[in-house]
């Protein structure tokens, strides 16, 4: 098994895809305003012509490398590349002002590698046995799993749950479009033959995550009358020292272990992504620190905590995705789309019939965390220059890539028009404070929920509720669904706790 896994890993196409994902992910991560979600959405169509293994190695790797790449501009320019790097920006930029920018990047590198490797090992150890539970699932369980996945919607939009749920229900409506599964009755197709196969995931994803994001970037043009010129880092702010000494490293290891465990748990927990993970890591680092006075003024411990946790989140979030088919975040939802498009169905079958694909993906993910650290150390100064690329050059490139990506799915101009429609809808959803990730999540899970419900009704032969109650696994997922609804409240409290700490630090 191991030799088979490594044999499929060490092929030219997998290695090239892997290297491209490491550099590409770090590049996108370092670009302010671009997220890992958008990078994965743009790349899915590009991977169509590839075999499943290199394609998914590429997509899975990008999440962790983009999260790390975001710390460069966060530290050097006070501009977090991704939402997961906000805590790092606060502390890292203070260090840059003190002429210790490179040292902060060094700490971010060591911590990100540690957190990423920890998450990768946990993924390899936890996912296979957990997936075997899915062998016992039948239609009622799949219905409740979909329902559980849909409650994540609430978590994804903890600041405005009502709009988050509405966005999710909008996604469910999109999932209704096309021929109904049992009767082949065309629902909401409005006479378009192209809609008989339903709303395609890729055009919807590209529209909502790429085109709408470009439109939001254009607002900067509206407000300022021009795009800001790229920022440049003062060479003196970088300093010379990058990596900590062995003695210093020993001091940081307990922080890394504690925050990696927390990050992993947050990744597994549906709805709580890298942004919450990084703040929890920051909080934990501060709690155990002997130098609390440095927090808010440039603390390496703070960077260590937040960067370890946000990279551990990445591996954690793949566990429910690969084993149960539950995408716990926007990134995971888009990645699930990538798995489905390449013919992989998350769940037990992934670890039985498709293990020759999933194991290389998990192992490549683990090693990508080490490789990104090496690239980071060698190219730190180069990545800092990425922020110099002005948006008015990036926008045309990303727009065309999104349009061509949508076309490439079925070689259909209808899909291109759908991308524009979803871009337009996505922009106004973002403007009106409706998160777009729940809509995509529901578009994936909606048909699964309907199929599970319809089959359960047939299997129940009468009282569906009694049938559900007679199945322990269904009940377990029902309880988990209820628990997931309370996750946002918990997350809100954590964030509030952090804000109190931040205020306290500023007062100090």
């Amino acid at each position: 098994m191991m030799s088979e896994t490594f044999a499929s890993l060490f092929t030219l196409d997998v290695l090239l895809a892997w290297i491209a994902a490491i550099f590409g992910g770090m590049f996108v991560g370092a670009l302010p305003g671009f997220s890992a979600t958008m990078a994965i959405a743009l790349l899915i169509p590009v991977t169509f012509g590839m075999d499943a293994t290199p394609a998914l190695v590429m997509l899975a790797t990008i999440y962790t490398t983009a999260t790390y790449g975001g710390s460069f501009t966060a530290i050097l320019l006070h501009t977090p590349g991704t939402p997961s790097n906000v805590a790092t920006a606060q502390e890292g930029y203070e260090l840059t002002k003190q002429g210790r920018g490179l040292e902060a990047i060094g700490m971010s590198t060591i911590s990100s590698v540690f957190g990423g490797v920890f998450g990768g090992i946990a993924l390899l150890l936890i996912a296979p046995p957990l997936a075997m539970i899915a062998l016992k699932f039948s239609s009622p369980e799949y219905f409740f799993i979909a329902l559980f996945g849909l409650t994540i919607i609430a978590s994804l939009s903890s600041d405005n749950m009502l709009k988050g749920i509405a966005s999710g229900v909008f996604g469910l409506i999109l999932g209704l479009v096309g021929l109904e599964l049992n009767t082949a009755y065309p629902r909401y197709t409005f006479g378009f033959m192209e809609l008989y196969s339903g709303v395609q995931l890729i055009p919807a994803t590209l529209g909502m995550f790429s085109i709408s994001q470009m439109m939001i970037q254009m607002e900067r043009f509206s407000i300022k009358g021009s795009m800001e010129k790229g920022q440049v880092v003062n060479a003196g702010a970088m300093g010379n020292k990058m990596l900590p000494t062995f003695k210093e490293l020993i001091h940081y290891i307990p922080i890394m272990i504690r925050t990696a465990i927390l990050g992993l748990l947050i990744g597994i927990l549906p709805g709580a992504g890298g942004d919450i993970g990084s703040w929890v890591g920051y909080n934990e680092a501060r709690r155990g620190s002997k130098h609390k006075e440095l927090f808010g003024k440039g603390s390496l411990e703070a960077i260590c905590g937040s960067e370890t946790a946000n990279n551990a989140v990445c591996g954690g979030s793949y566990i429910p995705l690969f084993t149960l088919g539950i995408p716990g975040s926007g990134v995971a939802a888009v990645l699930m789309g990538g798995l489905i498009i390449h013919g992989l169905q998350p769940g037990s079958q992934l670890f039985i019939t498709q293990k020759h694909i999933i194991y290389p993906i998990m192992i490549a993910y683990l090693f990508s965390n080490i490789a990104m650290g090496i690239v980071g150390v060698l190219c730190a100064r180069g990545f800092a220059k990425i922020a110099k690329i002005p948006m008015n050059i990036i926008i045309p490139f990303v727009s065309i890539l999104a349009i061509m990506g949508a076309y490439a799915v079925n070689c259909s101009m209808f899909d291109v028009w759908m991308t524009l429609v979803f871009g337009f809808i996505g922009y106004f959803m973002e403007k009106s404070n409706f998160p777009t990730a729940p809509a995509i999540l529901a578009l994936i899970l909606g048909p699964m929920a309907e199929r599970g419900l319809q089959s359960s009704i047939l299997m129940a032969k009468g009282n569906v509720i009694t049938y559900f109650l007679s199945r322990p696994l269904s009940m377990l997922f029902f309880v988990l669904t209820l628990l997931a609804l309370f996750a946002p409240i918990l997350a809100k409290r954590i964030m509030k706790g952090h804000e109190d700490i931040k205020t306290e630090s500023n007062l100090d």
Binding site: P396, Y407, S432
Partner: protein
């Protein structure tokens, strides 16, 4: 009158549009056969309920007249995003009319000029780079038949 309209929270408009759209979809679901109707009615019904909740919340916020909410739909803010969207629509029409590469060779310089890039070297270099990279990814590697 203008001031009064400006004080109406955007959620009122959004909620009203959503309720109307939900109502139409629910009505369409009622006309479906029993099995496809079941889930469609549940989902659209839920959508109407949530839309009404958003509408009511918006009305409440408007009546409170605190005036501390952000006016996100000011023309000055959404002007360029909408113009950009118009550029994309024209680009897709152009692709249909004159095929992908000529359309891209017009769209990229046009959009960059609109975004106030004035260096012709940068414009030409970006256009060529985008055309070549699209050809390499989609034609050479993915063997896609370009529009």
């Amino acid at each position: 009158m203008k001031t009064k309209l400006a004080n109406i929270h955007t959620d009122v408009y959004v909620g009203a549009i959503m309720t109307l759209a939900g109502g139409i979809l629910f009505y369409m679901a009622l006309g479906m056969p029993a099995i496809p109707k079941r889930f469609a009615c549940i989902v659209t019904g839920l959508f109407i309920a949530l839309s009404i909740a958003i509408l009511v919340k918006g009305v409440k916020m408007s009546l409170e007249a605190k005036d501390d909410w952000e006016r996100v739909y000011q023309w000055v803010i959404i002007k360029y995003p909408l113009l950009f969207f118009l550029f994309l629509v024209m680009y897709v029409i152009l692709i249909d009319l004159i095929s992908f590469f000529p359309a891209t060779s017009i769209f990229v310089p046009g959009l960059m000029f609109f975004l106030k890039v004035r260096s012709w070297k940068v414009i030409v270099f970006s256009t060529v780079l985008i055309d070549v990279s699209m050809w390499f990814i989609f034609v050479n590697q993915l063997k896609i038949f370009m529009p």
